[in-house]
Assembly symmetry: C2
Homo-oligomer: 528 residues x 2
Amino acid sequence: MSAHQVLIAGQWKSANSLASFHAENPATGEKLAEEFPISKWADCDAALSAAVDAAALLRKIPAEMISRFLRTYADRIEANASKLVEAAHLETALPKSPRLAEVELPRTTTQLRQAADAAFEGSWSQPTIDSKQNIRSYLAPIGPVCILGPNNFPFAFNGISGGDFAAAIAAGNPAIVKAHPSHPQTTRLLAEEVVIALKESGLPPATVQLLYHMSNEDGLKLVSDPRTGAIAFTGSRRGGLALKAAADVAGKPIYLEMSSVNPTVILPGALAERFEKIADEFAGSCLMGSGQFCTNPGFVILLAGQSTDGFIAAIKQRFEKAPSAPLLGPGVHKSLITGIQLLQQAGAKLVTGGSAVSAPGYRFQNTLLRVDGAQFLREPKRLQSEAFGNASLFVVAHDIAEAKLIVDRLEGNLTGCVYSSTDGSDDPLYDQIAPSLRIRVGRMLNDKMPTGVALSPAMNHGGPYPSTGHAGFTAVGIPASMRRFGMLYCFDGVRAERLPPLLRDKNPNGRCWRMIDGRWTQQDVGMV
Amino acid sequence: MSAHQVLIAGQWKSANSLASFHAENPATGEKLAEEFPISKWADCDAALSAAVDAAALLRKIPAEMISRFLRTYADRIEANASKLVEAAHLETALPKSPRLAEVELPRTTTQLRQAADAAFEGSWSQPTIDSKQNIRSYLAPIGPVCILGPNNFPFAFNGISGGDFAAAIAAGNPAIVKAHPSHPQTTRLLAEEVVIALKESGLPPATVQLLYHMSNEDGLKLVSDPRTGAIAFTGSRRGGLALKAAADVAGKPIYLEMSSVNPTVILPGALAERFEKIADEFAGSCLMGSGQFCTNPGFVILLAGQSTDGFIAAIKQRFEKAPSAPLLGPGVHKSLITGIQLLQQAGAKLVTGGSAVSAPGYRFQNTLLRVDGAQFLREPKRLQSEAFGNASLFVVAHDIAEAKLIVDRLEGNLTGCVYSSTDGSDDPLYDQIAPSLRIRVGRMLNDKMPTGVALSPAMNHGGPYPSTGHAGFTAVGIPASMRRFGMLYCFDGVRAERLPPLLRDKNPNGRCWRMIDGRWTQQDVGMV
């Protein structure tokens, strides 16, 4: 069997390949049959050139066509759901039901449809009109977006169907997608639907390119190429920082969603009030999808005492009772082992787990570690390294002052959470912790685990460096996530007939929110 | 006379200094009497620590207090206008009237008052409320902002009174200001008013720090320090890129406004229609303030023909008739000489000027260069290097197709302008040029010179790299410029009484625009 073809300029073409690769079934460790190419630079170069041509065409077409593409694509994903779920299950070992079929796939199509609405409406671009001085500005497409998706969501964060893809396309940009090499077949099947949806909606065929893999060196060259408009990456800190360095030197905006341990503080009043509920929520959140979530609660701060000891024992029991589900592949398996070893070397003690589970496939015991606050303060850097997977570290502070010191040492994270009692008894403790936690995280939660990332315009799936590359942006939440892929266009004294439709006096669709002379409105200019 | 003191944590303190420096009077070349310190790292360190403390306090105080400070400061600048204008004139040789007293100073106080209004109203932070899921987000202060202002606007872009300062403070952040060493006394006098205004408004004394100078090495250390929240820089490309590299590695958002040649295309129909008017506008714009504007029209594209030759002759005449006003100092003088030499080496020919004017002070002949389109296409990089000052390069294309190729080779610029006839005869030419120019500039103009940067919410004083570091942001235009200094805070399920006022159900001031469940409104939650 020969390697699958890459998608460039609307054509499936044999890759200029260095070599080929196969994905594995992580439940069995067996190599899968499909063969995929590792592209040479020539493919990247062709993808960039095609995307530049598409960018010029996309700037001219009505937003309705982009909207139609996103909607058609969502329909086609649904029509092909069972095939896609089957492929994703084989490549990721994530459960078909409910996870892939009832949770992740509908999330993906919902997101594509939200993006379709946003593309049509145009409010994402925040048109701002100064009618007296005839100065008008809005966010316009930034140019070809390179999207490098992660391993852990084969649909909802896939470079060719996930949040970054939906946002980049809805903002009017072509995409150059690099598949995650752990699920190339799922990505290829999605790309087949992309090709059909592009045709049906009349978008330029080169709106979407797909490469399966490339050398690290070519990846760095791709993100720093003059033709690239912006980059979106979700994955490891090591990979993200290497791409960031290359993009930064070239002056390319790069949006990264990297590691996060998601500090969760559980205060004593909450434990006294809702012990069992919190234990269930925590164990469920931490082990869901084998803990392979960016927002997995991997770092829990508790205050020393009997209820904390009881809580740790209750979690130990739940972790031991739950099965060890397969991890996404050998990379995750290896990094989890390394991560747990690092935590142990830094003074954390195993409460339960800590060992790989023997074959078939890639599995690891559900693992709980514990360290006291004093030790954390001696080793704050190593003790907040991410152990991506079904593992969590409990840090037991001797009092709230020490808990505050621990929070003060935290790096930037996607989320931070505090559980407190409803009777107000934890409030003084909350007030000591919350201000310091707030500035270190993107999303702050009360009394709920961080693993649910709602598709809401108010969501922030982002946070201070190094959880992302820029604390002002979110990777989830239409339309805010689209603004990452816009550049600010201003028109100063430009004649009316030369303005883009969204900046003319008349609101072209009557739905776009525009800031006209200091007021947000859906009216035409002159009607405010 | 001993060196002036630096301002840290609300106190004037003797600097930990490496050495001291004096500014010069650029009109005479004479060293001015006032002596200023070059700080060692200890001063930067103290400034950062003070700013971190102030940041924590600023997050808790009502926005009205920040608003009051900005307004009081504007009042005090006006009350001390003659002293400030005198100092700025001595240090920059810019005319007292109208430039400093009637143009730049009122612009500065207007901007501070716009920032005061925006800080109070809160709309800049774009509160977004999903009332059904109880997820709420907005932009919150990002932390201490290091501001490094340029030489060319001693008030309106001064690190301690200009657009970056107004935006950073209004967004709720403390500032660490590095004066431009060409006008330290002006900056010191402004800082004295800052200190009084801080006291009168009750803001933390450490809201503003002022250092006059530091080593390049310490500057890089400052912008990459973990305590820094963000950086704003206006100045040379060389300086900006060095700071960017340091900030990028540390994951700090840095907003740069660097060089721009501001391509201006003058089409033949416009010349036929408005020859004299355009000649006057161009010469006025190019020579205003000795051409020392970021948006100076330094690069003009014309189509070969008699009217273009006539236009060049007309500009030559105007340039020769106008006096050579003093430049801002020895640095600008030297870089202008080098810049013009570089253009000549790359094939541009002098039409007029090209030599330094003999003492007193730093002056250069009003300079016009010319090159043909074919030569530009052979040397596109060198021929678009900035010659900051009273100089401009005319690029004469043999036809519109060549003009388009020239535009295609342009780097990112702040502005791009097209003059065309009003009778429609230039429209086909416009349509060939405009799409390519549009994606290469932040602000596109029709029939007006780019030097006027209106204080408008729709302004974009920004553009693609390397004119700035990120094409999504503007340095001028309240409230958009404030968003550079915000980080996205999301509150997911956070209890009502723990939310910041702008995210509670009730709109705290009745004026803040908030996006509630998909609609922009000034109403309370539940009233939409």
